[in-house]
Symmetry: C2
Subunit: 338 residues, 2 copies
């Protein structure tokens, strides 16, 4: 299996992308195609001590252009046909790679996949599905930011795709699907959620009803559905609140001699907590609904995050996630439901 | 000054409402009117050791009905004309009290104020303005849940009202107003935010542009504006993430002998942190845009939260918050802006 890694994407590229890719092939039998400026990639491979040549588990596909973090996504993708993210997606489209991983400009990664790979038939809007750590494990939140404005059918498709993802990748049988709202009762919510609730009730999904903001970190469902505007705020707010609190705790633990002593006593526990909150453990978020596996990683990804994103991409290829989503959409259509 | 306290509202009523009201008159020269079942209130006054009679700083207005937490707000308010929350609002309407404080059914408290007090002329949708603790102090978030669906003019009015609130109550000159969105650039957001951004730019407010989810806990603005659907999710998610994290830290600090020792060393720091995150310190949230001061408190409010809500209500009366909002709306209209 071949995974295309956008070596130029992310704040620490190509260094961390290259190191992460190399770490992945140490853990799993797969091939990495690094896509980007050939010389820069070769330098990073050398710097990382890689001596295995470029015809085995590691190869390079040269792409001269780079899309910067602040470029307008769709415009940049259309103009820069030889950018690393566009070329990496083309490899998937042409069957040269099974999946693509990028930590670059999120909008550009999305646009490149949408334009190059296209949508799964029947899917109106592909969505970013992000794993969020909770008290009980992980909840898949979607859409985490691909679509700022959605209609009820979009939300229903997010529920279907999230269900397939949770079953296939996380091994959760009959995942609980919740609709993010502002009250448990089905009469609570905005127009979008009220109308979506009706669709979800008849959907055949394991729909557990509305969930509220405080239910998310408690892990009350396996798949949480919302529009991309709400989802992106939820994602960033969660990061922000956790970040501020952990910073405060750190200040307490470093601000005095007593604090420093305490820090030594609970070092292990705090490390576990931090690692559980660490996005790098989860690797990245798939763009569900396109005709191929696309994993979008955090712009701040370091080697570990790239490694986990590659391993996650490999799992999605093995489980044939795209075919399963296609089937779920066809089955839903075939069921005569709206 | 007289403050009407809905003695029957909240999970621990009338006990905590009565104790909180009594604590408030110990701190400030004001009069409390407890509204609710007279006998129950008298019992709680006695249990709290109050012996001052009912013609001085403490009085009771009997209200035989109670609106339960799970009743349909508007229906209950229309039907139960003699419920504590409706009677308390009527006291404000008739000039018998300067403000009302309730920790009951939030929807019912809102509906009672809307129906009894009415809107300030020109205000389309009153909004709940909630103080959220941040790294730098407090940010006022509105709307925190009164209006699930809003239009750009609503959001602009939230910005105006939030500005008046931050100036008058918190003493912040020219408060920074941010629009909650999914990117800093003005081209980022859903349709509502994109259209609102245009209005805010021309509003004459100290508009600092879009803020993102992670900016909220960092306190990047004094007033954060969003629709009530997003605001309510933000509020509850923040509570949820902080709650889960503090619970985890607690487990670390109680799960082992080392942890317990560490807990002793950093006791003071942790207490400060918890108290800063504690909604009870902030008392409650005003419903801005109605013709009177209405403070809505958390259903789980204990005496301290009631006390702070009463003191906050008194401050809002002293500062004549309603008149200042009325003036701001008139000035805005008079400025010829949309």
């Amino acid at each position: 299996m071949k995974i295309a890694v956008d070596a130029m994407g992310g704040d620490y590229s190509p260094r961390e992308a290259v190191r992460g890719g190399l770490q992945a092939i140490e853990e799993k039998n797969l091939q990495i195609i690094f896509v980007g400026r050939e010389e820069a990639i070769k330098e990073e491979l050398a710097a990382a001590g890689y001596q295995g040549g470029l015809n085995g588990p590691v190869s390079i596909v040269d792409a001269s252009e780079v899309i910067a973090m602040d470029e307008h996504p769709a415009t940049a993708v259309r103009k820069k046909r030889n950018s690393s993210i566009v070329v990496a997606n083309r490899l998937v489209k042409e069957g040269e790679a099974g999946a693509v991983v990028s930590a670059g400009n999120t909008g550009a990664a999305m646009a490149a996949s949408l334009l190059t790979l296209g949508r799964i038939p029947g899917i109106a809007r592909p969505a970013i599905a992000i794993p969020m750590p909770t008290l009980r494990g992980v909840t898949i939140l979607l859409d985490a930011g691909a679509n700022a404005d959605c209609d009820p059918r979009d939300l229903l498709q997010f529920g279907l795709m999230g269900t397939v993802y949770a079953e296939a990748i996380m091994g959760i049988p009959s995942p609980r699907v919740g609709l993010l709202s502002i009250g448990e009762e089905e009469t609570k919510g905005n127009r979008l959620v009220l109308e979506s609730h009706e669709l979800f009730k008849k959907s055949g999904l394991n729909f557990t009803g509305n969930i509220e903001g405080q239910d998310l970190p408690r892990g009350l469902c396996d798949v949480a559905v919302c529009d991309g505007f709400v989802g992106n705020i939820v994602l960033k707010l969660t990061e922000g609140v956790a970040g501020v609190l952990l910073q405060r705790i750190k200040e307490i633990l470093t601000g005095s001699l007593l604090g420093k002593t305490a820090a030594l006593l609970i070092k292990k526990g705090l490390q576990d907590l931090r690692s559980q909150m660490d996005y790098a453990e989860y690797g990245g978020a798939p763009l569900l609904g396109v005709q191929g596996i696309t994993i979008i990683s955090h712009g701040r990804s370091k080697a570990k995050a790239f490694k986990n994103a590659v391993l996650f991409a490999a799992k999605a290829v093995e489980e044939d996630l795209v075919a399963k989503i296609r089937q779920a959409i066809e089955d839903y259509k075939g069921s005569g439901r709206k």
